[in-house]
């Protein structure tokens, strides 16, 4: 099977099912997908369609029941848990719907957290954290704790945490789902800007058509299968 050299993500004939008692629940069924490097991909679909599951598989926080997931030519679906953990730190940035910042840490410390796992010097960490916070426009809030920040600001910290390790792939699970319209627009502007400036590949799960419109390409999932692809650009 040949693949375009520019595909950063390849999902090949992936099945994902769960057991609920004796019942088998198929979440993803024979799903195949390629995401070119640098693309902003939106994933839409009704609840239970498998969007988040697909995102988790591509991000290496879950493994497929069948099939393979390749990211940057690495077959992550075959990696051990420990290797996957290290791989995630270096190659994937996560943006969560509810930010999930550690409440006891300042904005600076939250952003620095993934860097602690990479064995960088304090000076290197300081430089990367400062750059990330500057990129999201929060240089003046570094000492604030999450509780002292607005929802939009917290999500900016979440984005800074996602990009601080300079990953090739950023996955976002409904990043605007907990924000008001104005903040959501700002976050989407920021993501588009980061994609352009840093050349990141972004995978975003969303229910919001306005958010999806910012993506280069939108995939629709229904009952665990891709049913429609729409080029937005």
């Amino acid at each position: 099977m040949s693949h375009p050299a520019s595909a950063i993500v390849r999902v090949e004939h992936v099945h994902k099912y769960f057991r609920r008692g004796n019942e088998r629940v198929d979440v993803l069924q024979d799903l195949t997908l390629e995401v070119p490097d640098g693309q902003f991909l939106g994933l839409m679909g009704p609840s239970g369609s498998g969007k988040t599951t697909l995102l988790n598989l591509i991000a290496g926080i879950d493994t497929p029941s069948e099939g393979d997931v390749w990211v940057q030519e690495e077959r992550i679906s075959a990696m051990s848990e420990g290797r996957l953990a290290h791989w995630r730190t270096k190659h994937v940035g996560f943006i969560f719907q509810f930010y999930h910042l550690l409440p006891v840490l300042s904005a600076y410390e939250n952003v620095e957290l993934p860097l602690l796992l990479l064995g960088l010097s304090a000076a290197q960490r300081r430089q990367q954290v400062s750059t990330a916070l500057e990129l999201v426009g929060l240089s003046d809030r570094v000492r604030h704790r999450p509780g002292q920040l607005s929802g939009g600001q917290q999500q900016r910290v979440g984005i800074a945490r996602a990009i601080v390790t300079d990953p090739a792939l950023i996955v976002a699970d409904e990043p605007t789902g907990d924000l008001d319209a104005k903040s959501a627009e700002e976050i989407l502007d920021l993501m588009v800007e980061l994609r352009g400036a840093l050349k990141k590949t972004i995978l975003m799960v969303t229910h919001d058509p306005r958010a999806a419109r910012r993506a280069d390409r939108v995939l629709h999932l229904e009952k665990g299968q891709l049913v429609e692809q729409a080029a937005m650009v």
């Binding site: 988790n56 953990a85 409440p103």
Partner: protein
């Protein structure tokens, strides 16, 4: 370093819960420290030493022991014979002559009754357990040396324990002042009771024992005691005091090693001078062990039930608190895993928080216990055998930290394992 900072910050996440955990740990560490202080002292005195042996010589067939005072001279030399150069001598010795008297013969009670020891004052500094150079240092040592010097110079001087002095303040001074403000020079009279009846001794306080083990103890010059015995016939129609012939209770001997001890045992057993009455010599540890025999079950209960129960309770309390904390932070732990934290790092994070709290709480508890019990109360008042109070050893700091940290470690093992098993995909499962 940053990891430790994260652990530290997590401890402060829920201050009330952390504070309650710390307080619970402190209380249980306090109990364990008190119990172990008593047991450690008893273990120490009943443990057979490898050097600096102390032995006790007493009358073989009678209790309480009553030996002729002349025995002191022979025993101080280890019953070494002059014409036997191979015989050896003890490194040091101390005679003990007991005396019991009351401040008020008409209304005698425990408070106005005192137990006294007539001895050679110099030996208080070298032969008394806990008062030797290695066990008593600094200001307390200097003050006690001054007291002993005064005892040598003052014929009827007496060094008195804190509890006795408090009773004196209440009975003679008619005051509840227990601060022992300038007791030096205060005079009082003890009328002998029981087998010491007829011996009325007037004393002048020349010093106070360091607080703790000797709170219910007094020591005075044996020459004054002997002089009182000698004066007795003059005041009682020429009759000797019943104790006059045999008023030596014990003789303590110190030897460098077991071989010396064995040799001196042979010398004493072979001595024809020490025949009437016969004497026995035994290791101090054996003698203490014999005294403690009636308390064997109590001590075993403290050692094998009370202390372990406290530690298990502590571990369960901590396990419960850490479990709640882990359950509350399930999403946060999942986020950390998503960011790349490995299961072992999550385990260390949870264990670290718990151990940090246990360690600090245990150390603080033991430190406060050490200071308050030793300096504030003069030791743990736990009268057992002839021991009155038990000082908290400095090792308690190590015990406290170890018990706190150890119980926290054990208590948080399961919650930590639970934490590292968190699956991000399940935590974030919206199946969307």
């Amino acid at each position: 370093m940053k990891y430790l900072l994260l652990i530290y910050k997590n401890v402060g996440r829920n201050l009330l819960r952390s504070l309650l955990m710390v307080m619970g740990t402190m209380v249980l560490v306090l109990v364990v420290t008190l119990v172990w202080s008593v047991l450690a002292f008893i273990d120490k005195v009943t443990e057979e030493k490898s050097k600096d042996f102390k032995a006790i010589v007493s009358e073989r067939w009678s209790a309480p022991s009553r030996m002729p005072y002349d025995y002191a001279r022979v025993l101080a030399e280890g019953a070494a014979r002059k014409d036997h150069p191979e015989d050896i001598h003890p490194d040091d010795s101390m005679t003990w002559q007991f005396f019991v008297g009351t401040l008020d013969r008409e209304n005698m009670n425990f408070r106005n009754t005192m137990f006294g020891l007539a001895c050679d004052p110099d030996k208080l500094l070298t032969m008394m357990m806990g008062l030797e150079k290695e066990n008593l240092a600094g200001q307390q040592r200097r003050e006690f040396e001054t007291a002993v010097e005064k005892l040598k110079q003052t014929r009827n001087g007496i060094i008195i324990g804190h509890d006795h002095l408090k009773n004196l303040n209440a009975i003679i001074g008619n005051t509840r002042d227990t601060t022992l403000r300038d007791p030096i020079g205060r005079k009082f009279k003890l009328s002998g009771i029981s087998t010491f009846t007829g011996l009325d001794l007037e004393f002048e306080i020349v010093g106070v024992f360091p607080p703790g083990r000797y709170d219910n103890f007094t020591a005075f010059n044996r020459e004054y005691y002997q002089a009182a015995m000698d004066a007795y016939p003059g005041e009682h129609g020429g009759r000797q005091h019943p104790q006059a012939e045999r008023n030596l209770s014990l003789v303590w001997l110190k030897m460098p090693d077991r071989a010396s001890y064995n040799r001196i045992v042979e010398q004493i057993n072979a001595s024809s001078y020490l025949r009437n009455p016969e004497v026995k010599i035994e290791m101090a540890s054996s003698a203490f062990g014999r005294f403690l025999e009636p308390f064997r079950d109590l001590l075993a209960g403290m050692r094998w039930l009370l202390a372990p129960a406290c530690i298990v309770t502590l571990a369960l309390v901590l396990a419960n608190a850490i479990s709640i904390s882990v359950r509350e932070r399930r999403t946060e732990l999942a986020v950390m895993k998503v960011l790349g934290f490995r299961p072992l790092q999550i385990v260390l994070l949870v264990l670290g928080e718990s151990v940090l709290m246990g360690l600090v709480a245990g150390l603080v508890s033991a430190g406060v216990t050490y200071a308050v019990i030793n300096w504030g109360f003069g030791g743990v008042k736990f009268p057992i055998a002839f021991f009155d109070a038990f000082l908290i050893p400095i090792n308690a700091l190590y015990w406290g930290a170890s018990v706190g940290a150890g119980a926290a470690l054990v208590g948080s093992l399961f919650p930590a394992w639970f934490a590292c098993q968190v699956k991000p995909a399940e935590v974030f499962a919206k199946v969307g």
